[in-house]
């Protein structure tokens, strides 16, 4: 016997059978759905490498049971670009060298997208650093990450203004 859940992953409906209720969203994404862009760093909610957006909020997917997310809408790093066109946050990370080894980058980008959606980052580097404090980068690319988030926030605000104009 198993337990079935339905999810929307990056816009596509997805039915999953679980044979253990302890499977985390992170393991579901990586091991079952082969979406390995989401990284497993500490697996205990401290590093942020596994950050995904669930129903509009960023969470640590390592601390979420898949079984309790029946009906949830997930956005992972695989779902943020539009075809070959990068998401503004992805583009900004490249422009500002917001990475070195790249392992934490998917989590950083998902967290940044969450932060920008929350609408508190604005143009204050200190708020960006606070808002991104749940994502560790052992290469120490923090300066570039902060610049990338500030830049992407401004770029997305501009796009929003153009759209509404």
């Amino acid at each position: 016997m198993s337990f079935s859940i339905s999810l929307i992953v990056n816009g596509s409906p997805c039915d999953v059978e679980l044979d253990d209720p302890r499977v985390t969203l992170l393991d579901l994404l990586r091991e079952r759905l082969q979406l390995t862009g989401t990284k497993k760093g500490c697996d205990r909610g401290q590093c942020g490498a596994c950050t995904v957006i669930v129903d509009g909020r960023r969470i640590n997917s390592c601390l979420a049971l898949a079984v309790s997310h029946d009906g949830a809408d997930l956005l992972t790093i695989e779902g943020v670009a539009t075809g070959d066109r990068l998401h503004p946050v992805q583009a900004a990370f490249i422009t500002h060298d917001g990475l070195q080894c790249g392992f934490c980058t998917p989590g950083q980008i998902m967290s940044a997208i969450g932060l920008i959606q929350e609408g508190h980052a604005a143009d204050d580097p200190e708020r960006v650093r606070e808002g991104m404090s749940g994502n560790l980068c052992r290469c120490g690319a923090y300066a570039g990450i902060t610049e990338a988030v500030l830049d992407a926030t401004a770029a997305m605000a501009l796009t929003d203004r153009r759209r509404s104009a």
């Binding site: 044979d19 253990d20 697996d43 205990r44 960023r58 969470i59 640590n60 049971l65 404090s133 749940g134």
Partner: protein, 313 residues
Amino acid sequence: MQWSAPRNDGPSQAAGNTTGNTFIMSDIQYVAPRTLDEAIGAYAAAGSAARILAGGTDLLVQMRSGAVKPGLIVDIKKIGEMTAIEETKDGGFRVGAAVSGMALHDHPRFGKVWPGVLEAINLIGSKQVQGRASAGGNLCNASPAGDSVPALVAAGAVVTVAGPQGRRELKVEEVPAGPGRTNLKPGEIVVAFTLLPRPKGASDAYLRMIPRTEMDIAVVGCGVNLTMKGGVCTDARVGLGAVAPTVLLVEAAAKALIGSKLDEKALEAAARACSAACRPIDDKRGTIVYRTKVAGVLLRRATAIAAKRAQER
């Protein structure tokens, strides 16, 4: 690695029924009831092997480290009452035990009325943890350093618990019994926090001391809740965390503030009362001497912030 996802390489070991919300495996069950009565029934029946899942940000870490091996996980997030934020007509609040920090943060009114309680809850873990973690979980995890607890103690929040014998109400400070232990009876679940309506000129603040600026466990945490009238403090409550086996309500500190204009003499007396109440541990994050001193310092600083907010309300 015990926690990697089971592969689809053979028949499942799971046995038992799946009625849509019950999942039974050889050693662990998961239920996500829609009603509180069902949750209490399942939780009480499973005895000490059961664990409540709210945000899961403590439980999953404890399970992975092997500290906790639940036979049953009762997910309470599908129960409406547990995730609701209700502002009563008289201006009070009722916050479901499983409401996440982010959901509370996004409420249009809560943070205006209870800024200290909100800032304390919003200090639990990272922003990603905030997307899941709840004040109910923080209270039941019963860490002496839980950030939301001193602020809720200062706020005079009342906790509604429900169990096999029905519902009862406790003061927040009555819930923790010691590190990792609560005074809840077998089968009892924390349902909601009730915060009373506030008079004009009342506000609160929470401060914690950590060696870093973010993402750390409180060395000392202090919540102050004040009512000011014409520059005089007419009511006060002080909660102190990480300085004793449980979060403390420091009545002597409140008494020193009440009736004063929060002058130096009153602040000094209240700070001394906080330091005197400390019975902390000595550990890598802070020595006994340091924590005891910082308790008084935080009382002064949190009082100043709460007083300023009270003036603006």
